[in-house]
């Protein structure tokens, strides 16, 4: 190193800085890409970006190694004629050939039966476009990865409070005094959460982490509550019990803003049992939620219209209406429900001392009641009541996949929604805050099709591929009540599968249940490895042939940037660009990056030319859509409407003249409109000028209480963010769930579940949260498998993505199974030993590492560090395949056969959320003669045509040059 008194990079070469948006994970931070002589020299956080405020994580800082990874695919590839699928024997073809091949195939399918085409995408950030393509094509068989990610968290809270965590909302740590984090992956909402937690701690806030494992965020918690996996619901119910028993709830909040005081028909024999008692009302013409329920007035001791000004209702009690109907306030039903969920009961279930559970409830309740915040912000509620200030109860929560990825996750998360509501923390300072476009009506308005006839040849799908069912009529089932979708989402098996069930697509397609398909397109989803359950079997299904010798899944196209394990199984490989090589939008139509204070969306713009023949998948979709003549992409004469993706983004409107498009910023011919406005041909330029991000700050009076904030709701309605401006009353008691349960109980008119599913629906669609053990526990020999097994994502890796990254893989080139030393002592193995981990479905061999930071009934490992040999541009001797292992081999994608069905997904019965974390295992020492290598092993994947040769022993990167000494 030549040291001078001062240095400057610009003395070495021509330096340019370009702003764009990161894509090293789903966080979507603003970045500055520093180029020296046109090559990437440095990527840092964009200081003027609202999300990350200039900071960046380990992944974002390693973007260079992703860009230059030897795992990059660079040419379209076709499985060589005669070669077997899965052997990676490909030949290079041109884009013209690739597109023609797809076009021919898809045109035929669209004309015959569009649902034989299935499009499933992984961690993409373009679901608005991919979903639109599927709808335009006419297939219902579309979903992204949400079903195996965190749909329970989305659905559980959106069906309760009209919003959820991460993109949808989050903890207001700027003002909270107590922060409780439950089961959150290391990297969730990574940089913003890290910024917020550290500032919260510096301000002296108290941080409690409820998690079986103490790593990452939990490491800096003031208190660690090591709970047994899958029992969060029990803990939360007991906390609710204690809050109720002690009177630590926010009564005023519950009465006005939730359905707590509304009267429910409590007479079990009544036809409307379990529904709110409704009275005739004059509903406004465009009304989502007519205020037609009743309260029991404390003063007059009689029923009155709910939210009648000046009336104080009873929250507890049992009453009889004039027509003789027995009713109870929803809150009374909640109290009845919680009666048996005592801390002592929960202590048995969760493994936590009852005193701890009580203390947690007291800390939450006392902080909420005694540290109330009042901000001098006047606002008006939906009932035209003026408020001089915004108040808040400073207890904030954040929860993610640790709660969600269980088959009891939905109801557990409902219990969390109830707790947050009891404490009065919804969209209030110091509590939970929404992010635009949330809050949305409960449930949000889009609905899936509800009739098999929605799928017709050469016609777009009648309905949206994904939506939010509000009652059984919204289910997408045939006359027998069976699924129309390949993944069986929105069927009676998983009625509220609002993100689909990608995790069952391959198994269902292979089995031909509910029907065989022809073509499966996978975008950026590693379904032959870490994104699937039961990995070994799924890999077999992908290459399985029928009696005629044809593949059971006839055609598989994979679009990816890297040579993942799944690419090996493709018949057609489409090379995607890296994030530095393309346009992208992080759209209000999808999952934007809004802040608490207003809508935010962002874009990516290319800072480098595409490598080889890489082509962005968006362009491919628009090109295919145009070639197939899908209505959105061609004009009346069938002529091309959009030149390319950037052109599409600027000019597309959800319907002609709607003024709503993919990007919310700088709309209108003058670029002066937000959210809604005519297309602006210079929209991209405006984004680039502003750091590739658009942030609309709402006036303070629109930033809080948005479920019931009249000004905000009308503003949001006027700007096309929501369909209705009605108040969004919190569903403490979920009538939506009760509607499904009634159908199973044979009450009322309408659709009925098939007999095998009636008990299942009646049990799990409980309008009040309840606790049950994870489903698989009751269907396997749980005593033989006494341990819960979990995975977590390390902060320096995004799923399987970063093993091809030379810098990040040095941090985690292989993984261990972490076990409490007590487990090792009981099983007679030592720290570092080779062990077997066995579930009811298989076993893997790995190395163990003792840890005191894990609850003794739990074992865990870092997710997706283990790789199949040769994949991801790694040598066959790489640590990832020799010493790394994947837990997915042990997790079944289906439950064992039982009364409700032979092939039900190993998932939540309400939402179809993949129950990854229900896994139960036992561990034991590997034999002394066994090889020191993980099992199972797979034949190494060869290097693909167009893939860069290995970089050899040394890699010395200097701004785009790999110097050779």
């Amino acid at each position: 190193m030549q040291d001078h008194p001062s240095h400057s990079d610009s003395a070495i070469g021509r330096v340019e800085v370009k702003e764009t948006t990161c894509y090293m994970c789903a966080c979507r931070c603003g970045i500055r890409v520093h180029l020296r002589d046109g090559e990437v020299r440095y990527i840092d956080g964009n200081p003027r970006h609202p999300l990350n405020k200039g900071v960046i994580c380990a992944k974002g800082s390693s973007g260079i190694m992703k860009q230059y990874s030897p795992a990059r695919l660079t040419r379209p590839l076709r499985r060589r004629p005669g070669a077997e699928r899965g052997e990676s024997d490909f030949e290079e073809i041109s884009w013209d050939e690739a597109l023609e091949l797809l076009e021919t195939r898809l045109r035929r399918l669209r004309a015959e039966d569009p649902k034989r085409f299935a499009l499933f995408t992984g961690r993409d950030q373009m679901q608005a476009l991919t979903g639109m393509f599927a709808k335009q094509f006419g297939t219902p068989n579309y979903a992204a990865h949400g079903g195996f990610c965190s749909v329970n968290m989305a659905a559980g809270l959106i069906y309760s409070i009209g919003g959820s965590f991460w993109e949808f909302g989050g903890p207001d740590l700027d003002r909270a005094k107590l922060f409780v984090m439950i089961g959150t992956a290391e990297d969730h909402h990574s940089n913003p959460l890290k910024i917020a937690i550290s500032e919260f701690k510096r301000r002296g806030g108290r941080f409690i982490s409820i998690n079986p494992i103490r790593t990452g965020y939990s490491a800096i918690a003031d208190e660690w509550v090591p709970i047994r996996p899958g029992t969060d619901g029990a803990l939360l119910l007991a906390i609710n019990h204690e809050i109720l028993a002690r009177g630590l709830f926010d009564r005023d909040f519950l009465i006005q803003y939730t359905n707590a005081a509304e009267l429910v028909v409590s007479d079990e024999a009544h036809d409307e049992a379990g529904l709110f008692y409704r009275v005739e009302t004059e509903a406004a013409p465009d009304c989502f939620d007519p205020q037609d329920r009743l309260w029991w007035d404390r003063a007059s001791d009689a029923a009155v219209r709910a939210r009648t000004p000046g009336v104080e209702p009873r929250l507890l009690g049992a009453y009889t209406l004039e027509d003789g109907t027995a009713v109870k306030p929803a809150f009374q039903l909640l109290k009845d429900r919680l009666a048996d969920y005592t801390p002592e009961w929960a202590a048995e279930v969760t493994g936590l001392p009852a005193a701890t559970i009580r203390r947690l409830a007291h800390e939450m309740g006392v902080t909420a009641r005694d540290h109330q915040i009042e901000l001098p912000i006047p606002w008006t509620d939906c009932w035209d009541r003026e408020h001089a200030s915004v108040t808040g109860n400073p207890v904030a929560f954040h929860a993610m996949r640790g709660m969600a990825a269980h088959s009891n996750g939905f109801q557990g998360i409902r219990a969390l929604g109830v707790l947050m509501s009891l404490l009065g923390t919804i969209d209030r300072p110091g509590g939970f805050r929404h992010k635009a476009p949330f809050p949305r009506p409960i449930p949000p308005c889009p609905k899936p099709p509800n009739d098999p006839a929605a799928v017709r040849p050469d016609t777009p799908l009648d309905g949206l591929p994904l939506g939010w069912p509000a009652d059984p009529d919204d289910l997408f089932v045939d006359d027998e009540g069976e699924a129309v979708r390949l993944d069986k989402a929105f069927s009676w098996e998983y009625p509220l599968a609002v993100h689909g069930l990608m995790h069952n697509v391959i198994t269902n397609a292979w089995r031909g249940d509910p029907y065989p398909i022809d073509t499966l397109v996978l975008f950026m989803a590693n379904m032959a490895w870490n994104s699937t359950m039961n990995t070994s079997e799924v890999r077999r299904m992908l290459v399985d042939k029928d009696e005629q010798g044809d593949y059971r899944i006839p055609f598989l196209a994979v679009c990816d940037t890297f040579s993942s394990e799944t690419v090996a199984f493709a018949d057609l490989v489409l090379p995607d660009t890296s994030y530095l090589e393309r346009h992208d939008v992080l759209s209000m139509l999808d999952r934007p990056i809004s802040e608490f204070d207003g809508p935010v969306d962002a874009v990516r713009v290319p800072v480098l030319p595409p490598k080889g023949e890489c082509r962005p998948f968006q362009d491919v979709l628009i090109e295919l859509g145009t070639r197939l003549g899908l209505p959105a992409f061609v004009d009346g004469e069938g002529r091309r409407k959009y030149r390319d993706y950037p052109d599409f983004i600027v000019n597309y409107e959800t319907s002609p003249g709607s003024g709503i498009g993919f990007l919310a910023g700088w709309r209108g011919a003058e670029g002066d409109q937000v959210l809604k406005g005519a297309p602006n041909p210079e929209q991209w330029e405006r984004y680039v000028e502003h750091g590739c991000v658009f942030h609309h700050q709402l006036p303070p009076s629109y930033q809080y209480m948005r479920n019931w904030n009249k000004g905000y709701l009308h503003w949001a309605r006027a700007h096309g963010m929501i369909r209705y401006a009605d108040p969004i009353i919190i569903h403490l008691y979920s009538e939506v769930l009760q509607r499904f349960r009634r159908a199973a109980q044979g009450k009322g008119e309408g659709r009925r579940p098939p007999p095998r599913l009636r008990e299942r629906i009646a049990t799990y669609f409980d309008p009040l949260p309840f606790y049950y053990a994870p489903l698989e526990d009751g269907l396997i020999d749980a005593e033989r498998y006494p341990l819960n097994a979990l995975t977590q994502r390390p902060m320096a890796m995004y799923h399987s993505w970063d093993s091809q990254n030379a810098w990040l893989r040095q941090i985690h080139s292989h993984n261990y199974l972490f076990v409490n030393p007590r487990v090792g002592a009981a099983e007679g193995f030592a720290d570092g030993d080779w062990i077997w981990v066995e579930s009811a479905h298989g076993r893997v061999r790995c190395m163990c590492r003792f840890s005191e930071a894990v609850e003794p009934g739990t074992v865990w490992t870092w997710n997706a560090i283990g790789k199949a040999a040769g994949a991801w541009g790694l040598a066959a001797n790489a640590d990832e395949s020799r010493k790394g292992f994947l837990l997915n081999h042990l997790i079944a994608e289906e439950l064992p056969e039982h009364a409700a069905g032979a092939h039900l997904s190993n998932a939540d019965p309400v939402t179809g959320q993949a129950a990854w974390f229900d896994l139960r295992v036992r561990v034991y020492k590997a034999g002394p003669k066994e090889p020191a290598i993980t099992a199972p092993q797979f034949a190494p994947m060869p290097r693909l045509p167009g893939q860069e040769p290995g970089r050899g022993r040394w890699q010395a990167y200097v701004a785009g040059i790999f110097s050779k000494k």
Partner: protein, 324 residues
């Protein structure tokens, strides 16, 4: 510490070379004092040249230790602060003096220059004295490279210096005895006696060092390393799973059993075995036995030096206990 073979070879070869030279000059001094018969110039010359070749071998080995041997000349610049720099200066000086001493004998430039009392001072005597001083200085420099690193508490002891001095000298005298035996020279007994004396002294020094290190309590603990005061403190991850310079340079990577075995081996082969062999060689007048005595001791010294490195536990190792 990781025992690098180049450094093991460097220190043992230098030690033997210095020791052999000291033996040669001691022989000459004894001869001048008439305690021993005067030897031919060839005896001293060949012996010193042998010493020189050992020093050269050591020097050659040192280059294998350097990342950038072509810049080795730069290493002479920091003699004010660095023992390594001092060694780099003293080593060629010693080699030069040994070479000059050999040359003086070879060319027979032994005519007295002046007299001090009964002592006739010739060039070889002056060079011998200077060479002796240089050799001793070199022992100190080499040893101080290790002994001066206070963080390596196993090394940070005067015993490191006495070990290097005594073990190097012992092996040099042992070689001198073997050399004499090989020539059929009667000095086997003289050199052998000194070799035995030095070996026994070295045994005392090295034994004391082993005892000291066995009782050594390291100043740093994992608690002071990260500043957390708790008795149950364990590393789980060191930040890299594929190893790093820190795991390669500072760890020997062998089991405690291997270490014990190596220690037993060198305690046998450096001390009792060569003593017995050289005594037998003297008694039996066997050059083979004498050569064997030296060879055994030298092999033992390689093991001793390996153990010297392996035994030292660097405080940085507190940061590299576990991978996960």
């Amino acid at each position: 510490m990781h025992p690098a073979f180049s450094v093991i070879l460097l220190t043992t070869l230098l030690g033997a070379g210095q020791g052999l030279f000291l033996a040669m000059f001691t022989g000459q001094l004894y001869a001048i004092a008439h305690f021993l018969p005067l030897q031919t110039s060839g005896f001293y010359a060949s012996g010193s040249l042998l010493a020189l070749s050992l020093l050269l071998g050591g020097l050659a080995a040192s280059f294998f230790h350097l990342g950038r041997p072509e810049r080795a000349w730069r290493a002479a610049s920091c003699w004010r602060t660095s023992w390594l720099s001092r060694e780099v200066i003293v080593l060629p000086l010693t080699m030069g003096l040994v070479a000059a001493y050999a040359l003086t004998h070879l060319l027979g430039w032994t005519a007295p220059w002046f007299r001090v009392g009964a002592l006739a001072v010739d060039l070889s005597l002056i060079l011998g004295v200077l060479g002796t001083l240089a050799s001793l200085a070199l022992f100190v420099c080499t040893a101080m490279i290790y002994a001066a690193v206070r963080f390596l508490e196993e090394w940070h002891s005067p015993l490191t210096v006495s070990n290097f001095l005594l073990l190097g000298s012992a092996s040099g005298f042992m070689l001198a005895a073997a050399y004499s035996a090989w020539l059929g020279n009667p000095l086997v007994g003289f050199f052998g006696t000194w070799a035995v004396i030095l070996t026994l002294a070295a045994a005392l020094s090295r034994g004391a060092h082993l005892l000291r290190n066995a009782r050594l309590e390291h100043r740093s603990t994992v608690q002071s390393a990260i500043g957390v005061r708790h008795s149950a403190l364990q590393q789980k991850a060191q930040g890299a799973t594929g190893g790093s310079f820190n795991t390669r340079e500072f760890f020997h990577g062998r089991s405690a059993r291997t270490l014990r075995w190596v220690r037993a081996f060198f305690l046998l082969t450096v001390f009792p075995l060569p003593v017995v062999l050289i005594a037998l060689a003297h008694a039996e007048v066997s050059s083979t036995l004498a050569l064997t005595a030296f060879a055994v001791q030298f092999v033992g010294l390689l093991a001793e030096r390996w153990y010297f490195f392996a035994e030292a536990r660097h405080p940085q190792n507190l940061y590299y206990q576990s991978v996960s």
